[in-house]
């Protein structure tokens, strides 16, 4: 599935999105672990959240086909 990337995540992914296979049915916590495995640099961030369909996802939420997924590194607006 495609996962959009912003901020430092865009640099880690090398572009505005990345693709991870076989994540439908995974929980958000599992997705985060898979991201760190595929892109170890994500493990070097202070933290990162996952947005699912334009809202923060909870660790236990399950990814479904068609979800809009986005990696949210620590925000720094204002």
């Amino acid at each position: 599935m495609k996962i959009a990337c912003f901020g430092v995540a865009r640099e880690i992914a090398g572009g505005p999105s990345l693709r991870l296979p076989d994540i439908e049915g995974s929980t958000v916590a599992e997705l985060r672990q898979k991201l760190i495995t595929a892109y170890p640099a994500f493990g070097g961030l202070v933290s990162f959240a996952i947005a699912r369909n334009e809202a923060y996802a909870l660790d236990g939420d399950r990814i479904e086909a068609g979800d809009e997924l986005v990696i949210i590194p620590p925000v720094s607006g204002g």
């Binding site: 959009a4 912003f6 901020g7 430092v8 865009r10 640099e11 070097g44 961030l45 202070v46 947005a51 334009e54 809202a55 923060y56 986005v70 949210i72 590194p73 620590p74 925000v75 720094s76 607006g77 204002g78």
Partner: protein, 138 residues
């Protein structure tokens, strides 16, 4: 009343003030966040905001709505810049109005504190010694 904006063009304090002003309100409080020339002792040349627009607008709206309810505000305007900014430019304006002044101060501070915690906007700072996404790494 709530007015949310995420713009590539300069923000306007007068516009925000006009939006929140109301004959029933005796107190308006504003916070204006600008780009400083120094951060952590390093000279900053300019910066760039990356924004997840649709979610940022939703989160900004949630914060404004929560502030209105929690502090009994009449109106909240929350405007944020996107794209590239130079030193001294306005990155964010929070404007709130209420009948009395104490909730105006508390509500305005709440909005900017929450914005910095939850709104998906990222600041890349360009300094003499390179560029950095703020808050990203320990």
């Amino acid at each position: 009343m709530i007015d949310i904006a995420l713009r590539a063009t300069p923000l306007d304090l007068t516009e925000c003030s006009q939006f929140v002003s109301h004959p029933s309100c005796g107190g308006l409080c504003f916070f204006v966040g600008t780009i400083r020339d120094l951060n952590l002792g390093q000279t900053v040349t300019h910066l760039e905001f990356d924004t997840y627009d649709v979610m940022a607008l939703k989160e900004m709206h949630k914060i404004a709505e929560t502030a209105r309810e929690q502090f009994g505000l009449h109106a909240v305007a929350l405007h944020h810049r996107k794209g590239e900014l130079t030193i001294g430019e306005v990155a964010v304006i929070v404007a709130v109005s209420s009948v009395h002044r104490a909730p105006a101060f508390a509500g305005c501070e709440f909005v900017i504190d929450e914005l910095k915690k939850t709104v998906p906007i990222w600041k890349k700072e360009f300094r003499a010694d390179g560029s950095h996404w703020l808050a990203a790494r320990p």
